[in-house]
Symmetry: C2
């Protein structure tokens, strides 16, 4: 972590020849040439959505040097658009513009834009450069770090994709001012996750600062983003393609993905589903004898304080959950693998949960009224 | 290169942790457990096409060990099916079967099947294992070696894809017995290419053995495949992602892709377009003063002896060629890069061909009657 006089900070994600920097700070977007060092050539396409474009497209364009050929593509907003068809629109636009393999894609927006643009970059002419400019808390602390790209399939979330690293990530913390409160809460789910899986001190800090974070207090927010990115960068550097430790980042996600898929993508926000899913994982960990009641209560309290749901959708049966969870990418052969908590701040991957215990947990977990 | 008592040979493609073997020999397909060492887990999907399935699907299945879950997917035949829609059919089938990230795809067929299945494997759950079982000469000497995968787009060939290496390549030379003569010639185009770009001794050997190769003489064919794979493996090991020397493998392809795209994929076979394209590259090299008339005559003679076209489609204008060539993946910014011949057996990438020279070459190159 290095700090400059302007208050911006730079983290490095260490991945050998694919290493890249994460710049975090207020007002980064719009600084002339902020994007210049990371361009592969002179062809640039900014891809964003209808909500973000009126807010930040102009500033993003202003961060590009003179003399580059800039195209813009504005897609619809929302998780429901995270489909192969949207990625095809990006490929069509690139080909219609005659862009070659030294072009650069800029993903301006939240996680949906980042995942789609990253995947489009991964597969356009077998791989071109891209830069992440995440504008939501969720994408700033999660999806813009680590190189996971992809789209949803009717039968499962993120089922089609690639590992493809950006050239750089530019996090302008001022963009959070335009974020709806519900999306802020969804982002905080992933921030809480880092505390739960790896850093109990950070969790304690979050318990103290949660009100400030929901008020967008600049110092607290910058620190939360930095620590989240640092933990994620550390884990990704250890395990780029999710053979081992990286799976811990999926705490709450196996349950959460089942909720999202069952409800139809975009009905629950990803972070909302992960919030409820983390609580399910904590309660299952308690049933395995790993967490005590006080620890589960702490997990529940911080999830609640972030404004996240503490219950699953009313109409989801045990079988609705299990059918979706059996498709999870972490599973090996037909064995269900779950990320659970040995204690607060210490997660593990577990594939020996008795099915009965899991069924009882899902059965008895509260449902939304 | 190692040789076993059964007459089969094994080459290694050296790519660090992504290294893999190429096994070449008669009757490899159908040997029990021939595929066993390369499976990632217990879920296997064999993807093939309607022409290959009746010939080799049974033998391929017999090469898998007992106890694995085997699914089969039979796609239509032909370059025209090399689309994202076909790859989506593979993804749909994998998800419907509940296959996880430790599954293995087996590509049984020609280059179209190999490219599509490789791309499907590259992007299914962000990457799963696959094995190439090429059954055409073209795919045995070219597309199954080197990890280029992908599909065509209406605006360009192989525009969408990924670099993704197979776990192994199994070349059963007996499968060539069922190959139509036109496809055999198309495969010989790539064999000739290796001689032209890298090995003038191999070119001379091909001049002597061309009749035997067109008669499928087993010894000559085995040697031609081995030498071709060895040259390609050597070049790929030097430059996996085509930053430099690998571009030489595109001799004749910039012209050839323009022909294929203009005619509509599948009208000319890939190898036929490359055959004419190599002659165009040789003649352009002569106009640059690099090749003499005798060398161009040798190139023309071997291309003709292989049964390949010596003329471009009748209706293709200079602009038809140039418009397609400007989209070529080798281009940097707007600069046209061509693979040309300094001499027979010595290719180079050249981006300073005067446009006028190129236009005259295309203008005066013979057209099909």
């Amino acid at each position: 972590m290095s700090e400059t006089s302007s208050g911006s900070r730079t983290l490095e994600v260490s991945l050998g020849s694919r290493s890249y920097p994460i710049h975090i700070g207020p007002g980064l977007l719009g600084q002339p040439d902020a994007l210049a060092p990371w361009l592969a050539g002179r062809q640039v396409m900014i891809v964003t959505n209808e909500v973000v474009a009126p807010l930040y497209l102009e500033r993003c364009r202003a961060s590009l040097p003179e003399g580059v050929e800039v195209r813009e593509l504005v897609l619809p907003d929302g998780e429901a658009t995270k489909t192969l068809a949207s990625v095809e629109r990006i490929w069509d636009a690139l080909l219609e513009a005659g862009f070659n393999r030294r072009c650069t894609l800029v993903a301006l927006g939240g996680g949906v834009i980042g995942d789609m643009v990253g995947f489009a970059a991964a597969c356009y002419q077998r791989g071109v450069a891209f830069i992440q400019v995440p504008t939501t808390l969720l994408s700033q602390v999660d999806s813009s770090v680590g190189g996971k790209t992809g789209v949803n399939h009717p039968l499962g979330k993120n089922m089609i994709g690639a590992f493809w690293q950006p050239r750089a990530v530019l996090i302008d913390t001022e963009t959070l001012a335009s974020l709806p409160p519900r999306e802020l809460s969804a982002g905080l789910a992933e921030v809480i996750k880092y505390g739960l899986i790896r850093d109990v001190d950070f969790l304690a800090w979050l318990e103290r600062e949660m009100a400030a974070l929901r008020d967008l207090a600049p110092e607290a927010m910058a620190r939360a983003i930095e620590r989240s990115c640092a933990i994620k960068a550390e884990i990704v550097a250890e395990d780029e393609t999710e053979q081992g430790v990286r799976a811990l980042l999926n705490l709450g996600h196996t349950f959460g993905h089942a909720i999202e898929a069952h409800q139809g993508y975009g009905v629950w926000l990803h972070g909302e589903a992960v919030g409820a899913g983390m609580l399910m994982a904590a309660e299952l960990s308690a049933r395995l004898g790993w967490l005590g009641a006080a620890e589960v209560a702490r997990a529940r309290a911080i999830i609640e304080a972030a404004g996240l749901p503490l219950a699953a959708p009313a109409d989801m049966s045990v079988e609705d959950f299990l059918a979706r969870m059996r498709l999870d990418k972490k599973n090996i052969d037909s064995r269900l693998r779950l990320v659970l908590l040995r204690s607060l701040g210490d997660a593990c991957v577990h594939d020996e949960t008795p099915l009965e215990l899991l069924e009882t947990l899902i059965e008895t977990f509260p449902r939304v009224d």
